[in-house]
Symmetry: C2
Subunit: 137 residues, 2 copies
DNA sequence: AGTGAAATCACCCCTTCGGGTGACGCATCG
DNA sequence: CGATGCGTCACCCGAAGGGGTGATTTCACT
């Protein structure tokens, strides 16, 4: 992180210096201004892409966005989604039941429906599929 | 994609034009050359970051990199990792056993050890933790 | 007013999982 | 040589999960 910033600053300073050097040492403008602008622009675009990857690509700051379309398509209800979320956190049926104030039977019913809609037959598979479909983080 | 490229080209052309405009219309260089370089650099750095995100950020091409350090720290063996991977795919003990040609008892033993090392007591939690620790994709 | 989906709960039966214990062969390391 | 860790397998038991059926209430839509 710190290294990235320092490298970037050095690259920036170096480029500025290089431009000055070329312009003042040879005292000629071999290329029109547009060309310089283009070169600098391309150079720093590349640097920007690289810096962007280093700075934000590594740390996964990406916020979770639920795939509402898939949710609708599969016909998963609110309550079922709620159960699915707790499922994804690794809770047992009993824990889920306690957390949403229903009996384990109800949780089982919701899960059965979820398994049908997700076309799976185990909770682990349900979690995996829900995760792949971006239904849960 | 196409829109991104076009927008980018427009931004680039616009910036070049703006520079020309400022320089030739007022016929004065209110700022030293370094400042211009800096402005252009910063501008296109930002544009580069933005373009980078649009072009490659959307498609998650990010390849999975196993967290070897965590693996070593937790003392998870090769065989255990193999079981963990199949676990993460939502397989049952029987399926895992068939896939690696051992008995379900062996799978259970591996899992028991994994639960201890990952400090969990359910397969779903194990999958979640392994996923969080980047032990499995 | 009637239909249907969602949500709730119950009971049964069977499979799967998890925890505990014990055992054996094999390799590596001191 | 003995200790340690890994991989393998077995048996037991209780808890958890999964499949099936059936039932009630509530609420929205028609």
């Amino acid at each position: 992180m710190k290294k990235t910033i320092i490298s970037y600053a050095l690259a920036l300073a170096g480029s500025a210096w290089l431009l000055q050097y070329v312009q003042y040492t040879y005292n000629v403008r071999v290329l029109p201004t547009e060309a310089y602008v283009l070169i600098i622009a391309l150079l720093f675009t590349a640097l920007g892409i690289w810096a962007g990857r280093r700075l934000s690509g590594g740390a996964v700051t990406e916020t979770f966005r639920r795939n509402q379309k898939a949710l609708d398509y599969l016909g998963i209800s609110n309550r079922e989604l709620q159960v699915l979320e707790l499922l994804g956190k690794g809770h047992s049926n009993q824990e889920i039941a306690d957390r949403i104030f229903v009996s384990t039977n109800t949780v089982k019913t919701h899960l059965t429906h979820l398994y049908e809609k997700l076309e799976v037959n185990r909770r682990t598979q349900a979690v995996k599929k829900a995760h792949d479909l971006q239904l849960i983080p």
